[in-house]
Amino acid sequence: MSTWRIARLIAAKDLRIELRSRVVTNQVLPFAALVMVMFAFALDNDAVLTRVAPGLVWLATMFSMLVLVQRTFAVESADGALDALQVAGVRPGGIFLGKSLALAVELAVLEVVLLIAAVVLYQADVAGSGVVLLVATFVAATTGLAFVGTLYGGLAAGAKGRETLLPLLMLPVVAPVLIGATRATEAAFGTNGATSSEGWPWVGLLVLFAALFGLGGTLAFGSLIDE
């Protein structure tokens, strides 16, 4: 069975589990929306909120992602599914790509919701010319985040008492995504006079990030989930 086929099957399984349990839609999305509201409480200044809206979208994504990642591995540990897959000889690279794909889909849904929240709550403005840049940014950033989340999530999933390690490990790693995605989104929004052309180099960085962690993750995942 080819790695791609394994990936597709595992991604489909993860998404089917989500469709049936609706944990992301019922718990994570409300949490993300709540985070956006709390930002407004904390920052208490409409002009500031509009200006930092891109950053807040990605910040809320990062925090909600921690919950998403833990969820994606919680479904595995419940019945020892991950161990079973390994024992059955399923190539870990395929498991990695599959879970990343499912995580990316869930992240994409999350980000769309957050974007809408930003437009509604912070009066963020999307310039028409910036839409292509915006889409490219979201795709590139989401891919990178999905790879990193699956990789470190796999490590933090194992024995009890490890979940608290996930934020410490993951958040520093995704710093380039936070910086790059925010700058590119600002360029797409036209915040602070940034033009679309300024955003594309950042998209390049995001693509590089995704490529490196996609490759690294495929190679390293097996060793990290080995108990």
Partner: protein
Amino acid sequence: MTPTPTPSPGRTAVARPTGTRFTRVLGAAVILGMAWLVLFGLFLSPNDEKQKAGVRILYIHVPTAWLAYLAFIVTGISSAAYLVKRTRSLTWDRIAGASAEIGVLFMGITLVTGSLWGRISWGIFWTWDSRLTTTAFLFVTYIGYLAVRNLGGTHQQRARRSAIIALLAVLEVPLVHFSVKWWRPLHQQESVAEGKLSGLMLFSLFVGLIAFTLLYVWLLLHRQRVLAMEDALDDQGLDVALAERRAEGAQV
């Protein structure tokens, strides 16, 4: 017939737990070096024209920064050495761990002294320029690495996991460096700030560099040996437990 493990040595203290003649000589050199650093750094060298007394902090801050980077490079190389089958040995894993720990210690000192220097030279404890931010990132990342080392499991599992995390960290560093550099380019003024040191000031910097390098080697040797002893104890405990289990089976 598996040999029964030799009984644990008595609890009498060991004269030199992790020391050898080399480390004793090295240790003496470290103490001497540090004494010279204090002597020159605090007393014999002059104040800088622009930074005044602030330059004295740099005699610590710059060497610890360099040694921290060196320590993390050693961790990276040792981690790679462990992962390559031909050179696989838990000694590499222990060197990686020891070096990372010392790197975190030195980097912590770098951040604190840098912050104090910034306060007296620039009036601010911190600024989000590319160098400082990357340094802070490295610090947090290797703290995470040390946490991963304590996740438990067999020594081989620990070694493999940590080695991968270390190499991923090496992968991230350029990504973080570039993203922060594009985000906050180094201001012109700050590069002028460090300027050029000469004479006794440059000498003091060298003293600091040599003293901290010697200290790094000394710490690495001792820390790595303590890790080796701890691993040996783990294995001993396992041997004893296995022997007891077999003894139980034999009695039945």
